[in-house]
Assembly symmetry: C2
C-alpha cells in the first residue's frame, strides 16, 4: 500500500493564484512519486489580517465564537482554490473543512484544543484515490460550532493528522529548514539535518522563531517525524525526530537569542523571609511571566534582586514593583539587554559546555549579567549591543560554522 504523507503549506505559500498553482504542482509531483496525500493549508496571505480588521472596525472586543466563524473562512478559501487548481490538472481532489473531516475540539474559542480526529472520511477519500485537502487551524465542537486552534494552529492540524493517520508530516515554509542560528545575525549559520523534539521545544521557548511548540509536543507524544522544508526548492530540510544516542555526539545543536528581554533590578530590598516570594506572587497575579532571577546579598540586611521579563510586560511589571519603592528600595530597569542561549541534547553527556560558552564570551569582551541552565540549555543575559559578537563567537566555538 502507498504511504500517506501530510503536506502542510502556510499562508505565504498560498498567497495568490500563481503561488497556489505552484503548490498544486508540488503536490502532483509528490503524488507521482507514489504517495497518498493529505494536504493541510492555512488562510491565504493577508486574508486573516483583512478579516481581523473588519471585526475590529466593529468593536475592540469581538465575540470569540463569531471570530472563529469569521476566521475559519480563510482556510476554506485556500482549500477550495487549491482543490480547483489540482482538479484542473486531471487529478481528483476534494476539499474538507475541519468540521467535514471531524476534527473535534474543546469549545475554547480562538484557542481550542484538539480532542479527537476522525480518520474515517479522509481514509475513504484516499481510498477513492483523491488528494484530500484539509483546512488547517480549525475544528468543530460536538454540537458543530466552529472553533479555531490559535497561533501555530495549522502546524498543529498537520501534525495531529499525521499522528492519527500514522503518516509522515512535511511542513513547507519559506526557508530551507531549521538553522543552527539566525542567518541574519550570524553569516555562517547552517541548516540542521536532524533535531530532537526536546531541542526544538527548548529553542522555541528561548525565542527562536521556529515551529510552534504545541505542534512539536503532539509530534513528540505520537512519534511523528516532522520534516520542515522549503516550498520553493527540492532540497531536503530539517527532520524533527526522537533523539537517539548518535544525536548526543553533537554537543550544541543551535544558538538562539531573544531580543525582547528587559532586566528589572530591585535594590536594597529588606532581607526578610517572604519578601521575594510576595514580589513574584504579585507579578504572577498581574500575568507577568518572569524568566530569569538572581538575588545577591547587599549590606545592612538588604538584598538586590534582578529578573528578566518580556518587553511587552514592562508596563504591567513596573506597576507591581513601584509599590516596593515606598519601603526604601530602588527600582531600575534595563531594556538594552538580550538573551543568548545554546541548546543541545549532547550537553547531558559532555562536561564543561557552560564554561566553554562563558570563555568564548569573555574572550570577546561580552559581560554576562545573568545565567540560567537546564539539562539541555545554557542561557546568558548580555548587553544588546554585544549580541552579534557573542552569537558569532559562541556559534564558532561549538563547531557550528559552515
Amino acid at each position: 500500500m502507498e504511504k500517506i504523507v501530510i503536506m502542510k503549506f502556510g499562508g505565504s505559500s498560498v498567497g495568490d493564484v500563481s503561488k497556489i498553482k505552484n503548490v498544486a504542482d508540488k503536490i502532483l509531483a509528490k503524488k507521482k512519486a507514489g504517495y497518498k496525500i493529505v494536504v493541510v493549508v492555512s488562510a491565504p496571505g493577508d486574508t486573516t489580517d483583512d478579516l481581523l480588521k473588519m471585526a475590529y472596525d466593529i468593536t475592540k472586543n469581538p465575540d470569540d465564537r463569531e471570530m472563529d466563524v469569521l476566521l475559519s473562512t480563510g482556510e476554506q478559501i485556500s482549500i477550495s482554490l487549491l482543490s480547483i487548481s489540482i482538479k484542473v490538472k486531471g487529478i481528483d481532489a476534494i476539499s474538507l473543512t475541519g468540521s467535514q473531516v471531524g476534527i473535534l475540539t474543546t469549545d475554547s474559542h480562538t484557542k481550542a484544543k484538539i480532542k479527537e480526529i476522525s480518520s474515517e472520511k479522509i481514509l475513504l477519500e484516499l481510498a477513492h484515490n483523491k488528494i484530500v485537502i484539509v483546512a488547517g487551524f480549525q475544528g468543530v465542537t460536538e454540537d458543530k460550532t466552529i472553533t479555531t486552534l490559535g497561533r501555530g494552529g495549522s502546524d498543529l492540524s498537520a501534525v495531529a493528522l499525521a499522528a492519527v493517520l500514522e503518516a509522515e508530516c512535511e511542513i513547507y515554509t519559506d526557508v530551507e529548514g531549521i538553522y543552527t542560528t539566525d542567518p541574519r545575525i550570524v553569516e555562517k549559520a547552517t541548516k540542521i539535518d536532524y533535531i530532537s523534539y526536546d531541542e526544538i521545544l527548548e529553542m522555541a521557548s528561548l525565542g527562536a522563531g521556529v515551529m510552534h511548540a504545541r505542534a512539536v509536543e503532539v509530534g513528540k507524544k505520537y512519534g511523528v517525524v516532522i520534516h520542515v522544508r522549503s516550498t520553493f526548492t527540492e532540497t531536503e530540510g530539517t527532520y524533527i525526530v526522537e533523539e537517539d544516542s548518535a544525536m548526543e555526539d553533537v554537543v550544541v545543536r543551535g544558538v538562539v537569542f531573544d531580543k525582547n528581554q528587559v532586566k528589572i533590578s530591585v535594590l536594597h530590598i529588606p532581607d526578610e523571609p517572604g519578601v521575594a516570594a510576595s514580589l513574584f506572587e504579585s507579578l504572577a497575579k498581574s500575568e507577568v511571566n518572569v524568566d530569569m532571577i538572581i538575588q545577591s546579598t547587599a549590606e545592612n540586611n538588604k538584598n538586590n534582586i534582578s529578573f528578566t521579563i518580556d518587553k511587552s510586560d514592562l508596563a504591567k511589571a513596573m506597576i507591581v514593583v513601584k509599590v516596593l519603592e515606598e519601603n526604601g528600595t530602588k527600582i531600575l530597569y534595563d531594556d538594552e539587554v538580550a538573551k543568548i542561549s545554546i541548546v543541545g541534547v549532547g550537553m547531558k553527556s559532555h562536561a564543561a559546555v557552560a564554561s566553554t560558552m562563558f570563555k568564548a564570551l569573555a574572550d570577546n569582551e561580552v559581560n554576562i549579567h545573568m545565567i540560567s541552565t537546564s539539562e539541555i540549555k545554557v542561557s546568558c543575559v548580555i548587553d544588546f549591543v554585544k549580541l552579534e559578537v557573542a552569537a558569532t563567537a559562541v556559534h564558532k566555538v561549538f563547531g557550528l560554522d559552515s
Copy 2:
C-alpha cells in the same frame, strides 16, 4: 408567544462595516418591537465577485463542488460580522451556516434545490432569546457537502425558512418596494402596496428586476407573506400575498419592459408541415429560449416566421437559422426592439384590456411588431426608441400614475 419574523438583507446592505452596523440597528429595533428574529444575509458587496475572480484566474472551468466551498465563505463572513455587531450592543445572537441550520439540499452544485429544512436548531436558539443569523444562499447535502442555491438563493433561503417556521418574511432591499413600473423610465411610477404571487411571477418572467421567481414560487406554495421593503427607511414596502377578489378591482398592477429582446425574421420559408417545428427544435437543442413567435403567410407557398429571443442568445440562434438560408430563405434580425407588458390578475374579470393598451400605443404612434397574451398579461414588441413614450402612455391609461 412572540411572533417569528425573517429579515433578509442582500449584499449591498452588508457591504461595509457601517452598513452592517445599520442593519444591526434595524434588527435590534425589530427585536424591541417584540419579535423573535431570524436574519438571513447574503455575502457582503463585492465578496462574491472577488472570490469568482480568484477561481477564474486559475481556470475557466472550475469544479462546481469546490466553487460552492469557495462561494459559501462570503455569507459566512456576513453572518459572523453581523452577529458581532449585535452582540456588542448587549443583545445575544448566534450565527449559523447552512450546514449548521440543517438546510438540506440536492447535490446539484451551484444550483442546488432545497429538500428539507430542520427547524430544531433555530427554534432552540430562539427559545434562548437569541437573534439567529443564518447564511443565505447555501445548504448542505446529506453527506455534509456544501452546496449553493444559485441566483436569488438568499431570497429563497429566507422564504423557505419563513415557510418552515410559519413566519413573516421581510426582504430588505435598496428600493422602497415593488413599483408599478421602472421609475427611471416613467416618472410617475408608484409603489405597489399589495401584489399577488402570480402577478410578481409574471412580472419577473417578463424582465422586471424584482424578486427571483424561485423564492416567490416557494412563498406561493406555502402561503408565506413576503414584505419587500427598504433597508434605509421605515416606510412600509410591498406585500406579496395570495390574490383575493378585492385585488381584481385593479385591472393592471404593473407595466414591465424587457430591453434585451432581439427579433429574428425568417422570410420565404417553404410552407410545408414540420418546417417551423424543426426550426424551433434546433433552437431548443442549442439552448436558445424563444419567447414570442408569429407566422404569416406569404405568396407562392412561402411563409414568414418571426420570433424573439434574449440578446445574449443571438449568436447561438444565428448559427441555427443560417442553415436555412441555403433553401432560399432570407434571415433578418432586429435588435432595436423592446417588449412592453401589462400584468394584473384583474384582467381575468375585465374585458377590453388588450384593446385599451393597443389604442394607447396607436394614439402615441407606437407600432406593434408582435403581440402575446395570457390570462394575466398582454405583451407587445415595439421599437426600442418608442419605449419611454409607450410606457408612459400605458402606465397612464390604466390609472397607475401617481
